[in-house]
């Protein structure tokens, strides 16, 4: 469904990916994990053709995105849904209209059918009662759930989740986890979940990739990753401060900088 082959990508001279390889197979839940700044969100931007690789190939639904025209990219996007980290709801519309937005834009369905469709999706995320609230009246977790309803309203073949668990209360978190799993099992939706919540991902993911230093540091089932003896994987899975992944951004000597008298 999604193939990333030998991808190199740099922003402003800073290399983000150097030979990245990854496959998200049809009907499976693929987890992409990695420390902050590893390029997880950038990878999603490449998969959704918001950015293009400097070198290498990104293939979605069998189409090489680099050689696909803008019109076809838009056609491909109608087959995918994406859940944004902050929800990205349209602030001038209420919850109902937000979920109905892609349906109104891409279909000529009668109003009664749109209503049923939207209410069904809102029921799935537990927010049918909030249909007439404006985005500003929702909590962060509720906004994320509305965004999920919007992402699934067109019944996409590929669903991409960008940090879906951040800031959710345990009840919403459990619900989102079950929903991802249920949509994958019942509807055969291919899912790519980008997150650094190792425990949550381990319960639902079929394949896991650990991103570090611009490459895939490890790949396998969550169990395989947990059993890995790679230093990077062990540090990430156990949350260790010491290891190959530096916690501190490169800086001059701490003591020297604290006691120097000149301007920094």
């Amino acid at each position: 469904m999604v193939e990333v082959r030998d991808v190199h990508y740099a922003i402003g001279g800073h290399e983000i990916f150097s030979g990245l390889d990854l496959t998200a197979r049809r009907g499976r839940i693929t987890a992409i994990m990695g420390p902050s700044g590893a390029g997880k969100t950038t990878l999603l931007r490449l998969i959704t053709a918001q950015n293009f690789a400097d070198r290498g190939r990104v293939t979605v639904f069998g189409r090489d995105l680099a050689t696909t025209g803008q019109r076809e990219i838009y056609a491909l996007r109608t087959r995918m849904g994406m859940l944004f980290q902050n929800g990205a709801l349209l602030t001038d519309m209420d919850v109902f209209e937000n979920v109905a937005f892609p349906v109104r834009e891409h279909t000529d369905l009668p109003e009664a059918l749109i209503r049923k469709l939207v209410l069904t999706k809102l029921q799935a995320v537990g927010l049918r009662g909030a249909a007439w609230l404006m985005p500003a009246e929702l909590s962060g977790g509720m906004a994320r759930r509305v965004a999920l309803a919007r992402a699934i309203v067109m019944d996409p073949e590929l669903l991409i989740y960008d940090e879906p668990f951040t800031g959710l209360d345990p009840i919403s978190l459990g619900m989102i986890l079950r929903l991802i799993k249920r949509m994958n099992e019942a509807l055969g939706i291919t899912s790519i979940v980008v997150s650094h919540d190792v425990q949550e991902l381990a319960t639902i993911a079929d394949d896991s990739y650990l991103l570090s230093g611009g490459r895939i540091a490890a790949h396998g089932t969550p169990q395989e990753l947990r059993a890995s003896d790679s230093a990077v994987v062990r540090q990430f899975m156990t949350g260790g401060a010491e290891g190959p992944v530096a916690f501190h951004y490169p800086a001059p000597d701490y003591a020297e900088q604290l006691f120097e008298t000149d301007e920094p």
Partner: protein, 253 residues
């Protein structure tokens, strides 16, 4: 020094090219945007109806000042009956389109830039792209067209209210004969004068709306970025309006 000057020049040309390309992309989306009249009407309401109070108040006061100044000037030559002509021509050809454009940039232009800039900053435009909805068509084009349509309408209202203000001062306060005021106005204002104001307002509408939408669409997705883009909208719109006004006035004379 010369490097700095070259840098500014290159940056200026780059920016101009970027605005021109944006305009072409925007124009290509204007036809599909016209097929969504409810979006367009909403934007005409936002840019036009919501600017009415400020336009009407300003028009009234500008007209009243014009009445006072015009009367003071004309009575020195014993031709105060020409007040209607002076006020009408001044308003229709010059003051109404220019001041409306400046007010539009400050009221509607800033609102457009900050709205679109915040939509960018909160990923709303990206979300549209992922939902296979082109934000240029759904967000930018209706707002651009709304501004272009609203500007001549606001200018017309400014002219009418301004003329009423001039009449208020000239006729009611300074006792210029009402019949003379209106007959002079009627006989001296030609279609050419009205069309000059109309063309100016249309050009200013295109320039101000383009700048507002461009700045918002390309604003860095930060609070500071949106703030700076909003400031740039007012500054660039005002300067371009005055520059274009000179060019158009020279072309019409």
């Amino acid at each position: 020094m010369s490097n700095g000057r070259d840098g500014y020049l290159i940056e200026g040309v780059r920016r101009l090219g970027s605005v021109a390309l944006f305009l072409l992309r925007l124009l290509a989306q204007c036809v599909p945007a016209l097929a969504r009249p409810q979006l367009l009407v909403q934007q005409i309401y936002n840019a036009g109806a919501r600017s009415l109070i400020i336009i009407m108040l300003s028009g009234l006061f500008v007209g009243m000042v014009l009445g006072l100044q015009g009367y003071d000037l004309l009575q020195r030559f014993g031709s105060e009956e020409a007040l209607g002509t002076a006020a009408a021509l001044g308003l229709l050809r010059e003051l109404a389109p220019v001041i409306t454009a400046l007010l539009f940039a400050g009221r509607a232009g800033t609102a457009l830039t900050s709205e679109i800039g915040l939509m960018r900053a909160t990923d709303q435009l990206t979300a549209m792209e992922i939902m296979a909805v082109d934000p240029l068509r759904y967000v930018a084009a209706p707002r651009f067209l709304g501004g272009v349509i609203a500007m001549p309408l606001l200018t017309a209202i400014f002219s009418v209210i301004g003329l009423y203000g001039a009449q208020l001062v000239g006729v009611q306060l300074m006792r210029v004969d009402r019949g003379v005021f209106w007959s002079q106005t009627q006989s001296s204002v030609a279609l050419h004068d009205v069309s000059e104001g109309l063309v100016k307002s249309l050009v200013f509408g295109i320039a101000c709306s383009l700048i507002a939408v461009y700045e918002g669409y390309n604003a860095p997705p930060t609070a500071e970025g949106v703030g700076l883009a909003t400031t740039r909208t007012v500054v660039a719109s005002s300067v371009i309006t005055l520059l274009l006004d000179y060019v158009l006035t020279a072309a019409f004379l």
